[in-house]
Each structure stands twice: as C-alpha cells, then as structure tokens.
C-alpha cells in the first residue's frame, strides 16, 4: 500500500518550446553586442584600474590633508550648517512649488482623464522637455536672470521636477483602476469631475509617495546645483576645494551626509505609514 509519504511524485516531461534555435541565436547576438559596447566604453572613458592603484598616494595625501575635519564653529561649522539649511529649503521649495504645474500637466497628460488628443500631446511634450533638460542647465540659465544664489536653484528645481513628477503622476493615474471613473462618466459627470472625484482620490497615496521620493532626490540635486553657484552647502564645498581647505570641505561633507540620511529616513518612514493599513 502506498501512503502519502512513500508515494513517488509523478513527473511529466516539459514540452519543448518551438523556435528555440532562433531564441538562442538572438541571445548570443545580444551578448556579443553588449560585450562590444562595453569594450568601446572602457576605451572611451580610459577605464584602467591600474591607474587607480598606482595613484593611491595622491588620494592618501588628499585624505591626510582633510583629516581631521576643521570643526571651528565660527568659520566652518556654523556657515556649513546654515548653508545646509538653505540646501534643504531649495529642495523643499523646488518640490512643493512644482506641485501645481506637475498636477495640471499630469492630469492633461494622462490618457485616462480623456483630454483632447492635442492637449494630451502638448502636455506630454512639455513634460518631456522639462524632464529632458537637466536641472543644472536650468540653474545656469536662471543664474543669468536672477544672479547667483539659492533662488536660481529653486527655479531650476521647479522646472525639472515639474517634468519628472508630472510624468510619474500621469503614469500612476494611468495604472490605477479605471472603474470608478467610468462609473462617474455613466452618471453624467464631466471629465474634470471624473478626474477630481474618482481618479485623483484613487491615486493620493501614490502621489504623496512620489512627492516624498522627489523631495529626497531634489535635496541631493540642490547640493549639486550649489556647485554651479545656486547657493547652499554645495557652494561652500566648491569654495573650500578651490581654496585648498580640504579639512573644511570634509566638515561640510559630513554635515551633508547627516542631512541626506535624515531626509531619506524621514521620507521612508512617512511613505511606510502611507502604504500601511489604509490602502
């Protein structure tokens, strides 16, 4: 008698897929293309680890000069902290001030809200443009208008973030369940009403999650924007490198690390709360 324990599991041969040969040759072709691309890229970037090993002394010298960090309150630490707060403000305003524009373009540039095809295409094009132009280019442009300083950084982030967040929001609207929107359409609601009362309430958690994610990214970006003159701690790091004050630079970098870790943790915490019991 066979019991459940002694029974040998039944097996069946897995049917082989047709056109297997074609698939294999495609895989080989893809592998060859990828390898060739990498060889070209290694050459184009001068990617030779030997150079790194040979040049270790340079790095060691640099680090030796940077250690210990210069913790002088009046000349280094306080200006550094103040500039870090400015960096945070740039990231914050760059994110929040782009909400209206991103929301408008997302609603118009989402297939589900059923805007006129021309409007849809126009909104998509504007989003693509703002996304394609890097924030640092926007910063360089705005510096010529409003001068060096954090305001140029905020403007640059507003532009770039509108493009990125608008696209992400439009996509999350397209991915959400269309049923409630369709129900309101059959109830005689117009397109704006459908978007405001069905689509948007459905995607609020995703929208807030993406907003926090963008805030996180924008704080980092505002750091880099500082390097091209748009204020904040980036500017101080740039200045300390130019004047060979590597110990001051290290202090600023440590402060920045703390800021980024804090922002990252806080936004992760809030996002976790959002995706928690309620949705």
């Amino acid at each position: 008698m066979t019991t459940a324990e002694t029974r040998t599991p039944r097996r069946l041969p897995v049917p082989s897929k047709p056109r297997r040969g074609l698939r294999t040759s495609r895989l080989v072709l893809a592998a060859v293309v990828i390898v060739v691309l990498h060889l070209l890229a290694f050459q184009g970037t001068g990617f030779r680890p030997v150079v790194l090993v040979e040049g270790w002394q340079g790095m060691a010298g640099f680090l030796a000069e940077a250690f210990p960090p210069d913790l002088d309150w009046e000349t280094v630490l306080r200006p550094g902290l103040e500039a870090t707060v400015v960096t945070l403000w740039i990231g914050l305003l760059g994110t929040t001030m782009s909400i209206p524009t991103a929301l408008l373009l997302a609603v118009l540039g989402s297939r589900t809200t059923g805007a006129h095809p021309l409007v849809y295409q126009a909104a998509r094009s504007v989003l693509s443009f703002f996304r394609a132009v890097p924030d640092i280019v926007f910063a360089l442009i705005f510096v010529t208008a409003v001068g060096l300083g954090p305001f140029a950084g905020v403007l640059a982030l507003i532009c770039h973030n509108t493009g990125v967040m608008g696209k992400l929001w439009a996509e999350s609207m397209e991915e959400t369940d269309q049923g409630p929107q369709q129900a309101l359409r059959t109830a005689g609601a117009n397109r704006m009403q459908q978007a405001a009362n069905a689509t948007l309430p459905m995607v609020v958690p995703q929208f807030v999650g993406l907003l926090l994610y963008r805030f996180d990214v924008n704080v980092r970006s505002s750091l880099v924007l500082g390097l091209v003159g748009a204020g904040g701690i980036g500017l101080l790091i740039n200045q300390s490198i130019k004047s060979f004050q590597f110990d001051a630079m290290l202090t600023h970098i440590i402060v920045v690390l703390v800021l980024i870790v804090v922002v990252d943790q806080v936004s992760a915490l809030v996002r976790k709360q959002l995706s928690g019991p309620n949705s």
Binding site: G179, P180, Q182, A183, L184, R185, T186, A187, G188, A189, N190, M192, Q193, A196, N197, A198, P201, M202, V204, P205, N278, S279
Partner: protein, 262 residues
C-alpha cells in the same frame, strides 16, 4: 425618498431597445436585439458568458458604440441626440457594476454624492468637502433607502461586498436615475448578500417605480425576483417570458457548451 421629479407612470416603457447590432473586429456580438423595460418592473437578462449581455448594457449607457439599432430612454430617442442633450437623456439611466466601481478611500456618503455630480455647480463638485449640503442630505436619504445610512461615514473599501453594492445602488438613486442597469450585481456576493441586493433591486422597481434591468447568471434568482426574464443567444433575444414560465427548455440551449460564442 426625497426625489424631486414626478414619479413616472407605472407600466409605460422606460427603456426600449430595437434591432441593436454590434460587432467587435468583424465578429458579430449582437445581431439584432430587441427588448423593453417598463417603469415599475425588474427584468433579468440571462445568457452564456460572451453572449453579449454586457455589450448590450454598454451600448445603452454609451460605453460602447452600437453599429446599428435604436435606443429609447424615458421616451427620448437617443439616435438623433448629440452632446449635452444626449448626456442629459442618458442621465436617466444609471449603471451598477459587478465590481461596484466605488472609490475605496472615500466614505460611503461621498461616493453616493458623486452620483449627483452632473447637477452640482462647477467648483463645488471638485472636492467632497465642498459638495452642497442639500446633496449630502439627499445622499443620506438614498443610503437610508438601501439600508446603509448607518455606515455613511465609513470608508467604502472597508465595507463588505454586499454593503458596497448597496452603496453603489444608493449612488444611482442619488443620480435620480429612473432606469437602473445592473451588470451581474450579485456575481461576487455570497448567497445571503445576493438575496439582499436582489430584493432591494426588486423593491426599488416595485415601490419607487424604477425600471430595472439586471444581468444574472443564476436563473433561480431570476425566477424569484424578476418580473420578466430575457435570454440572449447568438446575438439575439431567444426568449422573453414571465419567470414562472422559465423552464429547462429555455435555459438548456442558452448554456449549451457548443453554443457559447467562441
């Protein structure tokens, strides 16, 4: 219920479908469907999977474009109507879906108010918090009519399937619809909840004089709650009988495996 329109006269035709034709990608789905629904009656639509029941309802609601045929809603021929006039004529009909299609994060009363969006002033229709007070109160009365007033402030996503379906029916009442089209409203519900929803739909037809057409996959429910049963087969109406006359002779050909549209 405080519906402000005059109750339509019982036994006049609310919905009339004539020669409805619809094909998808050259494959005929409906090849000339005729049926009527009168005020005060509930009609069950029966038919195999793929027989075109949903397609017929979608054509009536404007969710699909029929290739041919005429649809009259509340005496108005939809054929020549366009734009706003067509939308206004269609507002007489409300749709109830198997998957309820409520917004899960919003409260029951907010969801019911959304049925009245078409008569809310522009900016006040953009946020539930701005909905006019009269509409909120009307929504409460609609929830009361479907037995859900006690759960008005709860998030819809937390209600059971049967409760959600009753909120969805309340939404169609708040729309002030006189014709309710329900596509498998009880297919996802347990037997008890299904009975509740079916008896609610039948009661709305009989006491509020609504015209109700509901797609059902359970002939037994049709027998007990409907005033008439319409069977769809091969794109046409195969039978249109009183439920008492609904026999195996009607039903067997409907669900024969080889008859099901491939």
């Amino acid at each position: 219920m405080n519906m402000t329109m005059t109750a339509p006269e019982v036994s006049t035709t609310a919905l009339s479908v004539r020669g409805l034709v619809k094909s998808y990608g050259g494959r005929p789905v409906l090849t000339g469907v005729d049926f009527d629904v009168r005020y005060g009656e509930i009609v069950a639509l029966l038919g195999a999977n793929g027989s075109g029941k949903s397609t017929a309802l979608q054509c009536i609601m404007g969710l699909a474009d029929p290739d041919d045929g005429g649809i009259r809603l509340g005496g108005a021929d939809l054929g020549p109507l366009r734009g706003r006039e067509l939308a206004a004529a269609r507002q007489q009909a409300a749709m109830v879906f198997q998957k309820v299609h409520l917004v899960p994060r919003l409260s029951a009363v907010d969801n019911v108010c959304a049925g009245a969006l078409h008569r809310m002033p522009g900016w006040r229709s953009m946020l539930p918090q701005l909905y006019p007070r009269q509409i909120r109160e009307e929504a409460m009365a609609c929830l009361d009519r479907t037995g859900m007033a006690g759960r008005a402030l709860e998030q819809v996503g937390r209600l059971s399937g049967g409760q959600q379906q009753r909120v969805a029916i309340a939404r169609s009442l708040c729309q002030r619809a006189t014709v309710v089209l329900a596509d498998e409203p009880v297919s996802a519900l347990d037997p008890h909840a299904a009975e509740q929803v079916m008896s609610l739909l039948a009661d709305l037809a009989h006491t509020e004089h609504l015209a109700v057409a509901t797609v059902l996959h359970q002939p037994d429910l049709a027998r007990r709650y409907a005033d008439r049963a319409v069977g769809l087969l091969e794109g046409q109406v195969d039978f249109d009988v009183a439920p008492a006359d609904l026999t195996g002779e009607h039903l067997e050909p409907l669900y024969l495996p080889d008859r099901v549209a491939a």
